[in-house]
Symmetry: C2
């Protein structure tokens, strides 16, 4: 059994590679700090990105939503003067309406996510980081913004100074997540944004303690390649928070938590400094352009994890 | 000012003719007994049929939904094993989600319906019969069925013995409806199903008293032509409830309430019997195949109403 921690696109892409190799021997623990309610619908962007990606249904152009989706709902909503800053595809709506229906019956987000994954034909387990509500908020000079407000409506065009995860400390780690961590032979931090994808997961209740107690190597794949993020605002956030946009910043951030970090060939010169943070380094091609890349990187990461002495 | 009472397709078609003649001098009071919640969305089939028809957006093939709508949401919902017995078009969903959003903010159905009508560019006032919940249920030999269960899921394929309008007696007539009735120079009962479109309206609180107190002629257009309903189960229901499927049954049903009944040329021989029910009769072509038919019939009905002595 392998456990992975994932947020958005990068997380979903490595998860897809891991899922191809591991099938039902993989649990992906997914950030829900980005979740919000929109038009009365419970939207879980990262859960959906992972689900659609593992189902082979993800839209490769956008990084979110369903491939080949149509926009007639949005067109009508716009005609009616409804809120059009957050895009909901016609097919994507089925996911949100079923999630709402099942949650309103009293099912947990864990149950709902599992049922959706099953219906999408996914063998791996997709697990929300918590069934309790956690909301990522971004401190900016214009004040505190809800995450989707910052990320989608404002397209990250405002400088951030801090992040907070409202509800995280009192949120509970679901039994399924605790079990996946305890059973794992390796724990993989996917190349997701450290600040808004991985940090919210680590902030949930006693998640950090569960991870530290696991008798398994913990390895991460850096989301930074040559000082830039492949997708999303990770590099920009690093700089705004006073750090270099570098895989070394990732290593410093995860110091004490990781046994190993996988970095891209472009960042090979950083290896000694990263090792000085107390973790092993593996240098490889970390860019995932397609399913083959994802699978190759996943295999490399798993071999790397296996090679690590976990008491080291 | 003219007030019309309407249910589904026949009601919407005459309303369209009246709206073309009267614009903002028309209030259409619409049945909400068919309303139900589906996938967490508040569905108001008759309000939507009237709204889409008056907006020129109705689907002429189906009698419900938006013209040219697409079905990608439904395809995905079906893939996911969701409930697919009630069809929701991609564009149609925008109406339901906005309605839900506005109702959840505390707006009344009257306010929500008015705002939707405005956004669809409709000058006439569309008024739900009540802001309180009324639910039409159908007594059958298989037990009591919710209306949409009977109408959509079962396609009316079970014999009915009675109807009930749960919540109607304690439901309140909205101020806007009471005002529209009080101000009306004529009250037009559209050619809607008497049992499941008009009866629920009449059953709301003191609606009947409001109508009887109006100093205006009350005229109906029979939904039956030559013993058959143009659309829907009205004729079938008449027979199952022990009546002839005939405009005379309509007259008997509305005895004491109507000053006049408009019947089709095909039913001319019934005129003396209908007059014996205490109402004037106008014989004309009542079939509405297109917008011109609707407008011509609307003009005929308004002239007929004007001609009637309301103390007679």
């Amino acid at each position: 059994m392998i456990a992975a921690l994932a947020g958005g696109v990068g997380g979903a892409r490595l998860s897809r590679g891991l899922a191809a190799l591991l099938g039902d021997h993989l649990s992906v623990i997914v950030n829900t700090g980005d979740d919000f309610e929109h038009l009365g619908l419970p939207i879980s962007p990262d859960l959906d990105t992972v689900t659609y990606t593992l189902a082979g249904r993800a839209n490769p152009e956008t990084g979110w939503g369903v491939a080949g989706d149509t926009w007639n709902f949005m067109a009508q909503l716009r005609d009616l003067g409804g809120p059009d800053w957050f895009l909901l595809g016609d097919r994507d709506l089925a996911t949100h309406l079923l999630r709402r229906e099942w949650l309103s019956r009293g099912d947990s987000l864990t149950q709902v996510t599992h049922r959706l994954a099953q219906r999408y034909g996914i063998a791996s387990r997709i697990l929300p980081m918590s069934d309790d509500i956690v909301r990522t908020r971004v401190q900016t000079k214009e004040g505190l913004l809800d995450f989707q407000d910052y990320f989608v409506r404002r397209r990250c065009d405002v400088v951030i100074s801090d992040l907070q995860f409202d509800g995280a400390s009192s949120a509970r780690v679901p039994v399924a997540v605790a079990g996946a961590i305890a059973e794992a032979k390796a724990i993989v931090f996917c190349p997701s944004n450290p600040y808004v994808s991985i940090d919210p997961i680590l902030a949930v209740g006693d998640m950090h303690a569960h991870l530290m107690a696991a008798r398994a190597p913990r390895v991460a794949v850096s989301p930074i390649i040559g000082g830039a993020a492949v997708k999303g605002p990770a590099a920009k956030m690093m700089r705004e928070l006073g750090h270099a946009s570098s895989s070394l910043t990732v290593a410093e951030k995860y110091r004490g938590l990781l046994h190993g970090l996988v970095i891209d060939n472009a960042d090979a010169p950083l290896a000694p400094a990263i090792e000085a943070c107390g973790m092993a380094v593996l240098i490889t091609d970390t860019l995932m352009r397609n399913a083959e890349d994802s699978e190759r990187l996943a295999a490399t990461v798993l071999r790397f994890a296996e090679s690590l002495p976990i008491d080291g």
